[in-house]
């Protein structure tokens, strides 16, 4: 039988456990606000019921860690929480959020991204084959062509990164919580196999440029254009094959 005590015992290595940090994975140790600043909630009961087949795990990777500020971590927490809400609406949870980092010197110039080619270099040169979607947040994002995120579509399964040509993760620019919260869920949608739906402005997979306003609320996942999006994402190997920590 599941117990919070056992869960924390198995997963918390520090001296003091925090439900918000160690279970829900919010870096700032508090429940994030909505992208527009509104209050949010989360259910421990629902989280406890997540497992193989109804959830996926995420590794958040902070690129150029020395340059991250508290407000950037707030933005990331907001994006992750929004992703929980977006996928929770179709019965797909986000279970473990595990934070990782790349130092600025190791990033070798990929801490501040200024072209799509650099995004490709990051997503093809780095990767961690650990049964969780690799979700990169670079310290700086400055794209002249309007790009705000990019992802493998679909992303590789656990254990298959070396057989994967090109990109093996998802990357989100921290361009402000109203934008990045949607982009985070959108790129994860690509990783889970969803393609663009430009003719459906309310849909999550419509690019932000074409989405209805406010864009952070344009996050529907439905049976559209012959694609059953809720069913499709649940068939991805990151949902069907993950380990339980």
């Amino acid at each position: 039988m599941w117990s919070l005590k056992n869960e924390l015992k198995a997963n918390v290595t520090g001296p003091k456990a925090s439900l918000v940090s160690d279970v829900f994975g919010y870096i700032r140790g508090r429940l994030p606000r909505d992208p527009d600043g509104g209050p949010t909630s989360i259910s421990l009961r629902k989280w406890a019921q997540l497992g193989v087949g109804n959830s996926f795990n995420v590794m958040t990777i902070f690129v150029g860690i020395e340059s991250f500020t508290p407000s950037m971590f707030d933005e990331i927490d907001t994006a992750i929480h929004r992703m929980r809400e977006v996928y929770g609406a179709i019965g797909l949870g986000v279970k473990w959020i595990v934070p990782w980092q790349i130092t600025t010197s190791d990033a070798d110039g990929l801490d501040v991204l200024t072209s799509e080619g650099e995004v490709d270099d990051l997503l093809s040169g780095w990767g961690f084959d650990k049964n969780a979607i690799n979700l990169y947040f670079p310290a700086g994002w400055s794209m002249s062509d309007g790009l705000i995120g990019k992802s493998a579509e679909p992303g590789p399964c656990p254990g298959e990164q070396t057989q994967t040509k090109g990109l093996a993760g998802s990357c989100v620019g921290l361009t402000g919580p109203l934008t990045s919260s949607r982009t985070c869920s959108h790129e994860t949608g690509h990783y889970l196999g969803l393609s663009h739906k430009q003719d459906f402005p309310e849909n999550l997979m419509c690019q932000t440029k074409f989405a209805s306003v406010p864009t952070w609320k344009a996050v529907a996942l439905k049976n559209v254009d012959g694609d059953d999006q809720p069913a499709e994402v649940k068939l991805h190997c990151m949902v069907t094959r993950w380990w339980v920590a």
Binding site: G64, G117, W126, G140, K150, H196, Q207
Partner: protein, 305 residues
């Protein structure tokens, strides 16, 4: 070509700022994200005034290091080096290294264009040629597509119009185009002097569908034949190989450099007077390991806002 369909896709938005607003924002020292947006807009409006603004940001030790890093890179792409304080923050230091690479690459490409590189090519360890794998398909582009690819190139025209030969390379959903200046495809000359006869363009399809000339192909005489290197936009060798002269031209082979996350590739072809051809190209099925991030060192919990 039988591997599972694997694409990439991204999210885009409208330009967040007008050029005038971007200038104001960069000056005003607002949030990091908005000033990075401002630089993104101003890179496309580059002139003396923008260069001055970027320079001021780049050298200001009190400014946001990430914005400074972005400004340093933007200046380097335009050929300008900036000098910062002796011990800058990590992101500024990393940007200086990147800027140095970009500036060296610019010089190197110009030197190869003139046939006078300062030093021989330094070829890294190459991945073994795969014996089996996915074939890389080659094709000729339509005239319309060739025109689009040509628009992305930066091969020198030497005063006249550039006569190009373009060969498309497709592996899975990765699409590249090798584009050569046919006037430079002179086997005898290539065996005699360094040159930049070609570029490799990458097809990006995420936002607007566009081509970017992401690699330069340079050659130099070596060991009685020819050494070939494919350089990225920081001058790093991503593919390399050799060419051997014979009665008909030059037979060449290219392989991928041993870089994290790279698939082994072998490409064989020929250069004959005024043209090149790809005889065979294979991409392996298992790439090199990707670099692994480190566990988060924290703490971010309870940090002041």
């Amino acid at each position: 070509m039988s591997e599972p369909r694997r694409l990439a896709a991204g999210d885009i938005r409208n330009p967040p700022l007008s050029p005038a607003a971007a200038r104001e924002l960069l000056r005003a020292k607002g949030s990091r994200a908005s000033r990075l947006d401002a630089i993104a807009v101003l890179r496309l409006q580059y002139d003396a005034a923008v260069a001055t603004m970027l320079r001021n940001v780049a050298v200001d030790p009190k400014d946001d290091p990430v914005v400074r890093a972005c400004a340093i890179a933007a200046l380097a792409v335009r050929g300008e080096r900036v000098t910062t304080e002796p011990e800058p923050p990590p992101s500024v230091r990393a940007a200086q290294i990147k800027a140095g690479d970009i500036l060296r690459w610019r010089q190197m490409v110009a030197d190869f264009d003139h046939g006078t590189p300062a030093a021989p090519l330094r070829v890294p360890m190459l991945l073994p040629a795969p014996a089996t794998g996915s074939p890389v398909q080659t094709a000729q582009p339509s005239p319309q597509l060739q025109a689009r690819i040509a628009a992305a190139l930066s091969l020198p025209s030497h005063g006249g119009s550039l006569a190009l030969q373009v060969v498309m390379l497709r592996c899975g959903n990765i699409e590249l185009a090798a584009a050569a200046d046919t006037a430079r495809l002179n086997p005898a000359a290539l065996l005699r002097a360094p040159a930049r006869p070609a570029q490799l363009a990458v097809h990006h399809t995420q936002e607007s569908d566009y081509w970017a000339a992401s690699f330069d192909i340079v050659t130099e005489p070596a060991n009685g034949g020819m050494r070939i290197a494919v350089l990225d936009l920081r001058g790093r060798v991503r593919f390399a190989g050799t060419g051997t002269g014979d009665a008909h031209g030059i037979a060449f082979t290219l392989q991928a450099a041993d870089i994290a996350g790279t698939m082994p590739v072998v490409l064989r072809g020929r250069v004959v007077p005024g043209a090149f051809g790809i005889d065979s190209a294979i991409s392996g099925t298992r790439g090199t390991a990707r670099r692994a991030p480190q566990p988060f060192s924290g703490p971010a919990r309870g940090q002041p806002d």
